[in-house]
Symmetry: C2
Subunit: 239 residues, 2 copies
């Protein structure tokens, strides 16, 4: 945690914040080993980054004086990530990585090789998704929560919603062995939609469907990466 991410619920007007949840308190106590009087980097959800001074630190609460919150968070990546729903543990880490790397728009999608049981995972509860995203933002000193859109049906999403979503975007389909090598250093002012399949990949029908819509196939070479690794690798190559 390189930034303590505050929400409006934490605010004590005019210029204080009080946190009471075990996750952030445990971090302050055990990892950061914060001491009263110390200044920390803080951020307000979907707003600025700044500094706060720790005024009181108890087992069940921490009180801060907010010094300022007037810096911008780091720039976002101009990407809409379309990710086949990964297995639950991999989803958790992927959400953290996605938030850390600056993705602001994520669609979790069903595809033929996504196990149906994954859709019942508690990791898909909004509060769990939110917690993973916040961890990722705190790592990167970001404050802007990605929006996460859940699409448990492939065809209706692809046919009814995706065509509008990719207007003006460069649409890329990451799939081992197809198309060109993943491009590098894309301009930050060009929207990109990037589709990443599940373990085992998209099936041929899905690849054809996406290619017919204008998705360009890209690959990362002969090595097959785990989904969570592929996400980081693709984002790092593209931007």
């Amino acid at each position: 945690m390189n930034l303590l991410l505050l929400t409006s619920d934490d605010l004590v007007p005019p210029d204080r914040a009080c946190i009471r949840d075990s996750r952030r308190l445990r971090h302050l106590h055990e990892i950061h080993r914060a001491t009263v009087g110390e200044e920390l980097t803080v951020g307000m959800s979907n707003a600025g980054v700044g500094r706060a001074r720790l005024l009181e630190l108890e087992r069940d609460r921490a009180l801060f004086e907010i010094i300022h919150l007037d810096h911008l968070p780091p720039p976002a990546l101009p990407i809409h990530l379309l990710l086949a729903l990964p297995r639950p543990r991999m989803l958790a880490r992927s959400l953290e990585n996605i938030a850390t790397m600056g993705v602001k728009r994520l669609t979790l999608l069903h595809t033929a090789r996504v196990e149906k049981s994954y859709w019942q995972s508690p990791e898909l509860q909004p509060e769990r998704i939110d917690a993973h995203l916040r961890l990722g933002l705190e790592q990167a000193r970001d404050t802007v929560l990605p929006t996460v859109d859940i699409q448990p049906r492939f065809k209706p999403f692809i046919e009814d919603q995706l065509p509008d979503a990719i207007i003006g975007h460069r649409a890329l389909l990451a799939h081992p062995g197809i198309g060109e090598s993943c491009p590098r250093g894309l301009p930050m002012d060009q929207g990109v939609t990037l589709a990443i399949g599940p373990e085992g990949g998209f099936i041929p029908f899905e690849v054809e469907k996406l290619q017919a819509m204008g998705f360009e196939g890209i690959h990362l070479g002969p090595r097959i990466l785990r989904v969570e690794t592929a996400v980081v690798s693709l984002l790092s190559r593209l931007f």
Copy 2:
């Protein structure tokens, strides 16, 4: 596991292999759900990649007929990775990622911000390191085990061994906020040594020491990544 990695101990001359360890058997039974008669991709440690047919599958053994082992594993990255020893759980995942991405030379190094307790972790036992590397290789369909060199003392390693190790290499020091943005798409015929610090980074003394030896500072922008994410991100940008 996209390849079943065999060792010479598994071989039953002239053309069979028998595996008996719980990790690979569990994978065959539970994840791959292999059936007798099926062909699988196999590889021999530090040698070729090929195909084998499953002849018998029991709870405690699997017997294969090796069809061939004459393909080359994917090309290696021309990099020597110098990694400050991460916390044990992060070490495990980093070892897998490093092997998956094609790093063949890894030095795990002590630096001022590496907690001393990490050096007592069971994850540093050679058989644990080997197991994580094998998992990573099997993911990438590689067979060539990285060499891992353990250096629990910073100064003697930096002063006595590193100068020779970087001869002919481009030496890069990944550190937030210094130098240039991480270069992209380096040639595969130029050796690179890449130093990556611990959580919290290298201390100024260490940065100066490495820079004085010719290491160029590089960074990945304003977002601070976890070590395991930074490793993947840097390798993906560099090559």
